[in-house]
Amino acid sequence: MKGFLAVTRREIVQRRLILAAAAVASFLPLAVPLVRGVSGAEAADTRSWAAFLLSAAFAIGLAVGSGASMLAPAIASRRIAFDFARPLSAFAIWAGHLIAAVILASLSAAVLLVPAGVAGAVIPWQALLVDAELPRLWPLLLLAGLLVLFAALHALSVMFRSRSPFVALDAVAALAIGFGFSAVLSRLPSFMADGPRTRAIWVFILSAGAALLLAGLASVARGRTDIRAAHRALSLVLWGSLAAALLGIHGYASWVLAARPADLKGFWASPAPAGSWGVVQGEARGARANFLYDTASGRFERIAVVDWRGPEISRNGKRAVWIEGRDHGGPFEILALALDDPKARPSRTRLFLEGYPSLMILSADGSRLATLERGVLSIHDLASARTLASARVAGDRTDVRGFFADNDTFRVYRQPEIIADKRGETRLEILELDAASKTLRETGGFTGAERLYLVANGSGDRVVATQYANREVWLLDGRTGAALARLAEGTEQTGRSPGFLADGRIVLSERSRRDARLRVFRSDGGEESIVPLPPAGSVALGGEVAPGKLVVALGEGPSYSVSLVGVEDGSVRRIADGLYPAARLAGFSYEINAGPTAGSEATKLFFQGRVLVRLDPSTGERRVILEARKP
C-alpha cells in the first residue's frame, strides 16, 4: 500500500502541469457564448454544454493518452527498471500509474467545470442520461470507464510496441472472442430471455474491464523490463480471461436453456382438447419458457416462441405447431411436432410467414393450419408445405375468430372491434374460406349485437353467442348466424358462462348476488332443467369428465371448490377444495370450439395454487403433475 501510494503521488507530481493546463482551459467555455453571439438562457445553456464537452473530452483524452504512454513505453525502453530496482511490488507500480492517471483525468475534468459552474452552468444530465439512477452513480461509472480506458490503451500500446508478429494472434483472438460472444448471445434472444441476455452482456462488459485491468497488471508483473514478455503475459491473461468469461456465459446460457418444466417459477397450463399433451408457460431461470408437456409421461419439448404465444395443438391432440422465435426480421418458419410419436423431434415445415400471425388455428386432425397475418387469412397444408388459399378478411380494427369447419373450410366470425366509448349495434359476419375452390364467401351473420363472446360445439354447426354488455345469450346456427333460440334475456346483474356438452346439449351457468345455478338446454335451445348450485362469487365450467357429468368450480374470493354436477339427476357433489380447472368449456380462445373433449385428460387437470394436479373425480385421488419452483 505504501508503495502504491508513493507511485501514485509521484506520477501525479510529475504531471501536475496537466492540472494547470486544465485550469487555463476551463475559461474557454465562458467565451463560447460570445463567439456564438448568444445571450441570456441560451448563453447559459451553451456554457453548460461547452464546459461539459470540454471536460469529458479532456478526461477521455487524458485516460487514452496516459494509457498509451505511461507504462508501455517505460517497459519497452526499460525505464521501468527504476521502479523494479526498488522494493515496489508489480501491483504498486501498475495500480499507482493507473490510479494516478484516473485521478489526473477526473481532477482535470472537475477543474474544467469550475468557472462555468460558478457562472451558473449545470451539467445537462437530463439531455444526456435517461435513467434517473445514473446521476447518483455517475462518479463510479466515470471512474470505472476511465480505468478501463487506461487499461485498454495500455494493452494496445504493449501489443504494438512489442513489435511482435504475435500481434496477428491478438487480432485473431479478438475476432474469435467477438464472434464467440455474438454466438453465445444469439442463444439468449430478447424475445424469450431478455433478462439473462442483459445479464450476459453486463457480465461480459465487466469481465472485459476486469480482464483488461488484470492483463495490464500481468504485463507489468511478468514482463517487467522485457516488452515481449509483457506482451505474452498480457495476451495470455486478456484472452484467457475473456475466453473463461465467455465459457462462463456460455455455461450460463446453457443452464438457462436447459430449464425443465419443474424449474418454472409459477406457470400457466393449457391442456389440449384431447390426448395428454398441453402447453405449459412461465418463467424459468430468468427467461420466458414455453413447453409442450405430456402430463402422462412427463416428456416435454421447450419451444422458442415470441411473447407468450404458445404452440397450437390440434383438437385430436396429435400435432403441435408454432412460429419460430426470432429477435429481428422475418420471414418466420412454422415448426411442428408430432405428439403421438414418442421419437419425434420438432420439424421445419418449410412454410414461412412474413410476420407474426394474429390468429393461428390447426384443423382437427392437425394436417392444415389457418393463419391470419395483417388481415389476410391463409390455409396451409403442412405435409406439402403449400398455402392452399388466401383472402383478406379483416381490416385494422376487426376482431376475427374461427375454426376449421372441415379440413377444407375455415369458418370466420368477423366483428368490428368495439371501442369502449362507441358501443352500439354491430353485425357479426360469418364467412368461409374454402381451400378447394380458393374462395371466400359470406355465409351469414347476426345483427343487433354488441361485442359477442362465442362458443361453438365440436362440429361447429351451432354457436352460443353471449353479449358482453348485458349477458344476453343466443343460440345461433353456426354457418348462417340465424338465431335459433334466445337462451337467456339480458341482465347486467347476472354472470353467465355457456358451454356445449358432448351430446349437443347446452349448459349455462348463472350467478347473481343471491344464488347460482346451472341451466341445461336441449340442442335446439329448449330449456330442459335447472340445477341449483351453492351460492358462489364466481362459477367456472370445467370439462365433462363423463357423459352428463360436469366439473364446476365455485369460487369465493381467490379460493375455489370443485363440484361434480350430474345434469341428468341434478346432483351436485363437492369433490375437492382449492382447485381450479385447467381446461374450461368456455375458456377464452380465438378458436371458438376449443373446449376439452368429453372424458379427455384435460377435464381432469386442475391448478392447486402453484401446482398442476390430476384429480380422479370418481375417487377424489390427486396426483401432482407439475409443481412450480418456490420463488
Binding site: R10, Q14, A81, F82, F84, R86, P87, R222, A229
Partner: protein, 306 residues
C-alpha cells in the same frame, strides 16, 4: 553467511539468440566482483536477471539466498542499483526522487543523500532530465546508497563520465566499502579504474563465463613473456617451450617472441630461461585490462601462430 549473489546455470535467450549460457558464479559478502566482457557478451542480461527484472530462460539467480525473480521486492530492500542508463523519471528533481525513495524504503537516509549530492555538486531542484550525464550517474549512486544497502549493483557506472565524475564515483564506492563492507557487483569497461577495488573478476565471452577468479590470483598467474628464440624461423611450429605456461596469445616479432601466458610459475620460468634456444627471457606483470584483452579479445594464441 549466505552469499549475497549466487547464479546457478543461468541461460538467457532472446528467440534464437543466446545472451548468457549456463553461467554459474557467486559473490561472497564484502567482496567486490567485477564482471567484464565486451559489448554484447551478456553482462546486462545477467544483471537484469540478477535484479529480478527479467526471467532467465533456465537456471536461476539468487540474491541473499532467494530467487531474485520471485523475491525481488524483498531483495531490493537490501540492494542498491546504479543502472547503465540513468532511468529516473525525467521530470523529478533529485530532492523529489529522494522524497519518493524515503516513502518506500524502511530506512532512508535523506540527509546522507542530500550531503552526497552536495559533495557531487548536483543541484537538488533541477529536473533529472536536465542534468548532465555525469550528474545523473551521481544522483543514481546517491539514491542507490540512500538506504545503506548490503549489496550494491553497478552496471557500467563510469560509462560516459568525465575524469572528475569518475574520480568522485570511485571515492564514494571506496568510502562505502571502507565504512560498511558493502558487497559490490559491477560490470565495467573501466578496468583500470576498478583494478584496485575488485577482489574478484569474471569475464563473460559470448555469453559464457570463461573466467571467474580472485583478482590477485588472476594477476599472479598471467604474465607477458618476451624472449628471443633462435630456432623460431626454422620451425614449422613454435611455442613448445611455452607449453608449461598455457600461452593464451603468442606473437612473433622481428626481435623474438611476445607471449601472454595464463599459468605462470617462477620455478618453471627459471627452467624456461635455460631452455635450448631461449635467450634474454623476461616476464612482466600484466594490468587487468591486458589480461581481459588477452582472454576476451579476438586474438587467439593459435590463431596468431597461423
Amino acid at each position: 553467511m549466505t552469499d549475497p549473489i549466487r547464479v546457478e546455470g543461468l541461460t538467457v535467450q532472446y528467440g534464437r539468440a543466446t545472451a548468457c549460457r549456463d553461467v554459474t558464479l557467486s559473490v561472497a559478502p564484502g567482496s567486490v566482483y567485477a564482471l567484464l566482457g565486451r559489448n554484447g557478451a551478456g553482462k546486462s542480461s545477467l544483471i537484469r536477471c540478477l535484479l529480478g527484472e527479467q526471467r532467465p530462460t533456465s537456471g536461476r539467480a539468487l540474491l541473499f539466498g532467494e530467487d531474485s525473480w520471485r523475491a525481488r521486492r524483498r531483495a531490493m530492500e537490501r540492494t542498491g542499483v546504479v543502472p547503465e542508463e540513468p532511468d529516473a523519471p525525467a521530470a523529478m528533481s533529485a530532492r523529489q526522487l529522494s522524497d519518493f525513495c524515503r516513502s518506500i524504503y524502511p530506512r532512508w537516509d535523506a540527509a546522507g543523500v542530500s550531503a552526497r549530492l552536495q559533495r557531487f555538486g548536483v543541484p537538488p531542484s533541477t529536473p533529472f532530465g536536465s542534468l548532465s550525464k555525469g550528474q545523473k550517474g551521481e544522483v543514481m549512486l546517491s539514491l542507490a546508497l540512500g538506504h545503506a544497502p548490503e549489496l550494491l549493483v553497478l552496471d557500467d557506472p563510469t560509462l560516459g563520465l568525465d575524469i572528475v565524475a569518475r574520480r568522485a564515483l570511485f571515492e564514494e564506492i571506496v568510502g562505502e566499502l571502507a565504512d560498511r563492507g558493502t558487497t559490490v557487483f559491477l560490470t565495467t569497461h573501466d578496468l583500470a579504474g576498478f583494478e584496485g577495488i575488485a577482489t574478484r573478476v569474471g569475464i563473460l565471452k559470448e555469453g559464457r563465463l570463461v573466467l571467474d577468479e580472485e583478482t590477485e590470483r588472476l594477476k599472479s598467474r598471467f604474465r607477458r613473456i618476451l624472449y628471443e628464440n633462435q630456432l623460431t624461423e626454422t620451425r614449422t611450429a613454435f611455442g613448445t617451450e611455452l607449453d608449461a605456461f598455457d600461452a593464451v596469445r603468442v606473437k612473433v616479432r622481428g626481435w623474438g617472441i611476445d607471449a601472454v601466458v595464463s599459468n605462470f610459475e617462477e620455478a618453471a620460468f627459471a627452467r624456461f630461461r635455460e631452455a635450448d634456444g631461449v635467450e634474454n627471457a623476461q616476464a612482466e606483470a600484466m594490468p587487468l585490462e591486458e589480461i581481459f584483452l588477452a582472454v576476451a579479445g579476438e586474438e587467439k594464441a593459435k590463431g596468431d601462430a597461423k
